[in-house]
Symmetry: C2
Subunit: 338 residues, 2 copies
Amino acid sequence: MNIKEFSTRIGVSPTTTSSAITGNGRISKATRQMVLQKMRELGYTPNLNARRLVSGRSYMVALSHVDQKAASDLFTMQVARAIVGPLKEFGYDLWLNLAPDSMQEYSLLRQLVKSSTIDGTIIISDWSVPKKLLRDVASRNQPCVVIGEKLIDDIPFVGSVMLNLKPGALEVARLFAAQGHKRIGFIDSDLRDRVFEYFADALKKLGTPINKKHYVAAGRDTEEGARALRRLMSQPNPPTAIFARTDVLAIGAIREARNMGLSIPQNLSVVGHDDLSILPLAEPGLTTVRIDCTELAKAAAEMLSGLLRNPDTDPEPKVISTSLVMRQTAAPTPRAAD
Amino acid sequence: MNIKEFSTRIGVSPTTTSSAITGNGRISKATRQMVLQKMRELGYTPNLNARRLVSGRSYMVALSHVDQKAASDLFTMQVARAIVGPLKEFGYDLWLNLAPDSMQEYSLLRQLVKSSTIDGTIIISDWSVPKKLLRDVASRNQPCVVIGEKLIDDIPFVGSVMLNLKPGALEVARLFAAQGHKRIGFIDSDLRDRVFEYFADALKKLGTPINKKHYVAAGRDTEEGARALRRLMSQPNPPTAIFARTDVLAIGAIREARNMGLSIPQNLSVVGHDDLSILPLAEPGLTTVRIDCTELAKAAAEMLSGLLRNPDTDPEPKVISTSLVMRQTAAPTPRAAD
DNA sequence: TTGAAAGCGCTAACAT
DNA sequence: ATGTTAGCGCTTTCAA
C-alpha cells in the first residue's frame, strides 16, 4: 500500500498523511492522531526510499573507523553503542562502516560519494588524521565530525571532538609520584599521540624525570607489551612503576611480569590507557585511564546533527578529557610503603 | 549531476548510462567501457535512493542479534566482519542493527516493516529462537536467515544456518577421557542449548559418566565462572577437568582456580567454548571449542542472497560444526601422567 | 544496440 | 487546515 491508496482509503489527501507522519505542524492535532491511528490499523508504512529521494536526505549517518584493526573494534563498538541513542533522538540511524578486508578508508569515501546513502559521517581517527579524506569530504559538503586526539580547526565545516589525553596522563604522573615511585617506565604504542610527552613533562615537574632507558616503543598487541616489559625489567635499575599507552600493552606487560615471578602491584605498578570494555574479562583490576565514550558519543551526535541542520556554520570543537580510574594494579613502592 | 545531465554531456541516453552501470547486458562492451570511463572523469555517481525507489530494492541487509548483551557483541562483531565481504560479492551492504538501549528485537521488526530500508535479515539467535518474530518476518516475505543452534524447518522460507555443537562437545569428552580424567565437571551458561547433553552422553559412553554434583549452572560473566569453580572445587572429590560452556566462564574459572593456588593445567584442566576473538587478550592459551565464523558467514550470506534472488524456494539448511582447538589449559591428570 | 517516455512513492510549493 | 500538482533521479517497458 502506498500513500495515495492509504490516503484515499481513510479519506484524506496524501499531503495530510505526509504531514501527519513528518509532524510538520500544518495539520490539526485531531487529524494527525486519526491518521496515525489508521496507519496502525491498516498497517501502512511509508516507503523510506521515496522519502529519501524526494527530500534529498537519507536520515542515516555513517560511523567509520580509520584504523580497521580488530583491537580497535572494541573501542568502535563501544562508541557505536553509545552514539546510536543520541543519534536516534535527532532522527538519524547509524550505519556502521565495516570495510570488507581490502578496501580501507576509501570505502568510506565511496560511501560518501555514492551520496544520498548517508547524510553525514563520524570518523574515529587513529591520531593520524586522514586530511586528504577530510578535505574531500568537506569539499563535497558532507557534514562530518572527527573523533580523535588532534583538534581539527584547519578544515572548514569539519566538526571536531577532541580527546584531551593530557589530564589522564597528568593524573598517572601524580599518582606514581604520590606513591613514591622514582624509577618510572613507559611503554608506548604506535598510535602517534602525545601521551608520553604529557606524562614525561609532568614527571619532570614533579621532580622525578623519566630515564630515557625507561621508555620503550612498542606496537599494539600483548606480545609487544610483554617484550617491552622484559626490556624494561632486564635493566640494572628497573622501573617500579610502568605506564602503558594501551590497555592491551598493559595486559601483556602484566602477564609477562607475573611470568617473571613479580607480583602486581606489590613489586611493580602498572597502569593502562583507554579503559576498554573487555577489560573486566582480561584484567579486571587494571588501573587505567578512561576515555568517556558516553560523553564523547553525545558530543559527536549533537555536533553532527547541528551540522546536518545547518551545514554552513563551523561547529565549536568539543573537548573530552581523560581521567584516571583507580583499580588494583598500582600501589606505593615497597620502600615508600614502610 | 544526475543521470540525465550526465548522459547528455557524454552524448548517450539515460537508458544507456543505466545499463552501463547495472551491467544488464543489452549494451555493447565498448559503449559500456566508455560510459564507465566518463563517469570517473566527470565524477558522476548515481543516486542510490532513486534506484532503490524504482527498483523496489535497497541492496542492504540487516544483521541483528537477538541477545543484545555486550558479551555477545564480540561474537556479533566477529560474524559481521566475516559476513560483510561475501555479502558485498552478492551486491549487498550490511547494516548492523544496534538497538538503542530500550527497544529490543522489535526494533528489528520495525526496520523490516519500514520496508524498502532493507531487503533481508540475518538474525543471530540466542538459542531461544524468536518464533513470533520469524513468523512475522516470513509473512511479510522478508527473506531471512537465522544463525543458531536450532535447525529451523517449521517456518517456510526462513533460511537456517545451524550450529552443530555436538562434534566439539564430543571431542572434549574424548580428550578428557584420553587424558585419564575420571572426575569431570561442567559449568553451564544460561544459553539454552544442548552442549551439556552432548557432553554428558559422550562421557557416559566412554565409561566416565558425569557426577550430578559436578554440574553447575551459571550465567555469563567471569564472576559466575569463578563462583561455579568454587562450588565445584569445594566438594570432597573435586573434578580434575572442567568444561565450561563459554570462554568467559572458563576465564573466570581459571582465574579463581589460580587464586586458590591451583596450577592450570597441572592441577586442573579447563576447556572453554566459542573461541572468541578477544581470547588471546584474556587467556591466550585457553583450550576451547571453535565456531567457524568465516564458514558460517559465507553460508549465511550465500543463503540470503539466494533467498533474495528467489524468495519462493525453501533454502536448504546448512550445518556448521564446532571443533576442538587444542591449546594449553588441558593436560593429562597427575595420576594418569605418571 | 540504443532512445523516448512512463512512473516508482513520496514531499513541498502553490492553491483553496 | 487541507487538497492539487509537479517533480526528486532512476529503471524499465516499448518502440526504433
